[in-house]
């Protein structure tokens, strides 16, 4: 059955490999993917270790529904202590790696130690081999995959790899698969790089038994219809995530020239319709009918004719509005380079934009930039800085350390201009007009992030009964709720609810575009309960799944607290409170986040979690979730 996949412990220092089954009792508590990774992480990583030292542990996993008929069950999760934040490191990616890993017999990999020389793992039908990777060290993301496939003589091998940036230990390097599927945020690529682990290749032909095939097929068809009948899915399936660009910009939600405006003047040049002129169709991840991944060919310049995928909405902001660049080809080229280097696009673009503001304010000089005119709108400087960060050259070497470390090194009040939470850069979407979204990024367990909890449907202004229907299941909620995105009331509950919604799908291995993230009528805990039953035979109610998510999220909190996180880390930078927005629709214009009201939101958010006023879980909360005896070292 789909629950018989194993966990493998791989020690790169000694070369020892051990495999174990995953007990059903652990499954019921953490399911798989991110949830079980968090259990393993709390148990296997010793407090206070250097994230780039051999004591850090890398976790790679598949959600418990990956490879089954649950629609979009493609997600791979990668975890470890973050080299960027020092807190929870966690990245989630689409593509085809996780299903292949399950067909090869494994759900979880626990990778310890450090190889003496560059290596890669070769996993095939229950067997794991550590192989020499000296010939692929230094290669780009796509080159690496092509060489490994050729070496092992199988074009269907799926590969998870780091690019040159991960090898150079850039603290926000990604783990990648295929051309653009990225395990981004929190620097998991640097973690693999620090272990001298270049790649993991998998190939499997083992049955993954579907418990109730007929029902699973029929129910999957229903869920697919539920997802793709929504206009938002259809639009996304035609234009990809950039479809929200124009609306967000005219509304006043695009962080521009680092944080100096909240609307980009040259929006039309980089609208999805403009990108679409160079697109050659859409691609989908495993089993997904939304197919939001755009395929494009660079039309001009030195990279003319090169194929790549994206750019996503994130890249649009990070490579255009934030650095103030409006050139479409530059966006496509930047996106391509970051994919080849294996760098986090959001983090890279955001830090370059920060450096541009520092340069324009005179904090960084020509000497610091080695003569590069690092002004907003300088397309060439943007591309040059991408190269320098990936290769750790000059100022690039400083930025490669991440915002907080770089600010310390640069000094001169540079930190005042850094837009981050917990040392991780914010998405280009401006949260000042939306307290709910601001609370989401402030409290996210992996640092500032829009994929930890994002009550984005707030922007639809849904009527209260609809919001009540969504937010009152699977646990009852009768507190305040508000339809307006400007309000503070009731939003902490929304943040907590969305947080557990995302945690749940990260445990299951389902994409967030198949959740309430973007559409109020999308699959939910009720559907996941049935999908689990038909596909794996696991009988878990919607409430049981909610509790798994709550347990896993609390484990993340415990990990962070153990690493020194306090209430002050769940906070925004001053600019959110002090600098009003200047553009956009009337309600989004001239606003800041109110410090006092925001602090009250944090209190309320902690209360919903059963945490004290410092954000530490109450003993009874841990007991209720049955994690009061962690670390329990069961696996």
């Amino acid at each position: 059955m789909a629950l018989d996949r194993k966990i493998a412990y791989i020690n790169l220092t000694t070369g020892e490999i051990e495999t174990k089954p995953i007990p059903i009792s652990i499954r019921k508590k953490f399911l798989g993917g991110r949830g079980l990774d968090m259990y393993l992480m709390y148990n296997h990583i010793k407090p206070g270790i250097d994230p780039l030292g051999p004591d850090n542990v890398a976790f790679v996993s598949a959600g418990v529904l990956v490879g089954t008929l649950a629609s979009a069950t493609a997600r791979t999760h990668i975890a470890g202590k973050s080299p960027l934040t020092g807190f929870v490191g966690s990245a989630n990616m689409g593509g085809f790696f996780a299903p292949e890993m399950r067909w090869a017999g494994f759900d979880h990999l626990v990778i310890k130690g450090k190889a003496e020389k560059p290596v890669y793992l070769w996993i095939r039908n229950g067997e794991i081999e550590i192989r020499d990777a000296e010939n692929i060290w230094g290669k780009t993301v796509t080159e690496t995959q092509e060489i490994i496939r050729e070496e092992l003589d199988d074009r269907d091998i799926k590969i998870l790899t780091i690019g040159p940036a991960g090898e150079k230990l850039v603290r926000f390097a990604n783990v990648m698969t295929e051309i653009k599927n990225a395990g981004g945020r929190s620097g998991m690529g640097a973690l693999l790089g620090s272990k001298n682990l270049k790649a993991i290749a998998v190939r499997g032909t083992m049955d993954l038994k579907i418990e109730r095939p007929a029902e699973a097929l029929e129910y999957n068809k229903r869920v697919i219809t539920q997802v793709i009948s929504a206009k938002v899915s259809q639009t996304q399936g035609r234009l990809g995530t950039p479809f929200i660009w124009g609306a967000t910009n005219s509304w006043g939600g695009i962080r521009t020239r680092n944080f100096q405006a909240n609307q980009f003047e040259y929006c039309d040049d980089i609208e999805p319709e403009s990108i679409d002129e160079h697109a050659i169709g859409m691609a989908g991840c495993f089993g997904c009918q939304v197919h939001c991944r755009a395929k494009y060919i660079i039309p001009d310049g030195p990279y003319k004719g090169v194929y790549d995928e994206g750019p996503e909405y994130t890249a649009q902001g990070a490579l255009t509005a934030e650095p103030g660049c409006k050139n479409l080809v530059n966006l496509l080229v930047g996106n391509h380079l970051l994919n080849m280097y294996g760098l986090d696009i959001l983090e890279t673009g955001s830090l370059i934009a920060w450096a541009m503001e520092l340069y324009e304010k005179g904090i960084l000089s020509d000497k610091d930039t080695d003569g590069l005119e690092l002004r907003f709108g300088n397309d060439e400087a943007l591309i040059e800085m991408i190269h320098r960060i990936a290769r750790r050259e000059g100022l690039g070497d400083i930025l490669a350390e991440g915002g907080l470390r770089a600010a310390e090194k640069i000094g001169k009040g540079s930190i005042k201009y850094l837009i981050h939470v917990k040392g991780m850069s914010n998405l280009h979407s401006d949260e000042r007009p939306t307290p709910a979204l601001a609370l989401g990024i402030a409290t996210g367990s992996r640092g500032s992030d829009h994929l930890r909890s994002r009550p984005a449907i707030d922007l639809y202004g849904l009527p209260e009964p609809v919001l009540r229907r969504i937010y009152s299941q699977p646990v009852a909620y009768d507190g305040p709720i508000s339809s307006h995105w400007r309000d503070y009331e009731g939003k902490p509950w929304e943040v907590r609810w969305q947080e557990l919604c995302y945690e749940a799908v990260d445990c299951l291995g389902i994409c967030k575009y198949h959740t309430i993230f973007l559409g109020p009528n999308f699959p939910n805990f009720e559907e996941w309960s049935r999908l689990l039953y038909y596909n794996t035979g696991l009988e878990m109610s919607p409430l049981d799944i909610w509790n798994v998510a709550d347990r896993a999220y609390t484990m993340e909190r415990l990990f962070n607290i153990r690493e020194g996180l306090t209430r002050k880390d769940d906070w925004l930078v001053d600019r959110y409170f002090d600098e009003p927005t200047t553009r956009g629709v009337p309600a989004a214009c001239g606003v800041t986040i109110d410090r006092e009201k925001f602090a009250k939101m944090i209190d309320e958010y902690y209360e919903h979690h059963g945490w004290d006023e410092n954000g530490v879980p109450h003993p009874e909360t841990l007991k209720k979730l049955d994690i009061d005896k962690e670390p329990s070292h069961m696996l």
Partner: protein
Amino acid sequence: MAKVLMIDYEKCTGCRLCELVCSVKHEGVSNPARSRIKIVKWEMEGRYVPMSCQQCESAPCMAVCPVKAISRDEEMGRVDIDYDVCIGCRMCVAICPFGAMSFDTLAQKVIKCDFCDGDPLCVKFCEVGAIQYVDASMVSTVKQVAAAEKFTSIMQKVAAAISTV
């Protein structure tokens, strides 16, 4: 009129849901290695092509089978395997020009597309319509229309270009 699978690879997004539903329908498991349809991919170029049995009129697998286990079902328009007769010699696998006859190493038997007995699941689940189940005579009609559309749109562009000169 017998129906055929009509494949339009330009529409394929490479998601491989067809492989998944095929293996679940036929074997009750998720395992693309046991699927009757396969997406051949050039990942780094974004090119994906669904490959399945063409149900040939003059099928090489049928001709090469030493025990006559393979026959044509004219009503369904498909090539059938009689597993009671099949000896598993895999000559059919060797000769198929499309690689559409596979050997299932777990069940130890050759496998191929059977149109799910008239309701192909791959077609049902492919929302982009890269795989369609249509009357054999319709295939060329559909292609004619597509080609004609391309041709006329080029002609219109040319005409527009000339008129602006």
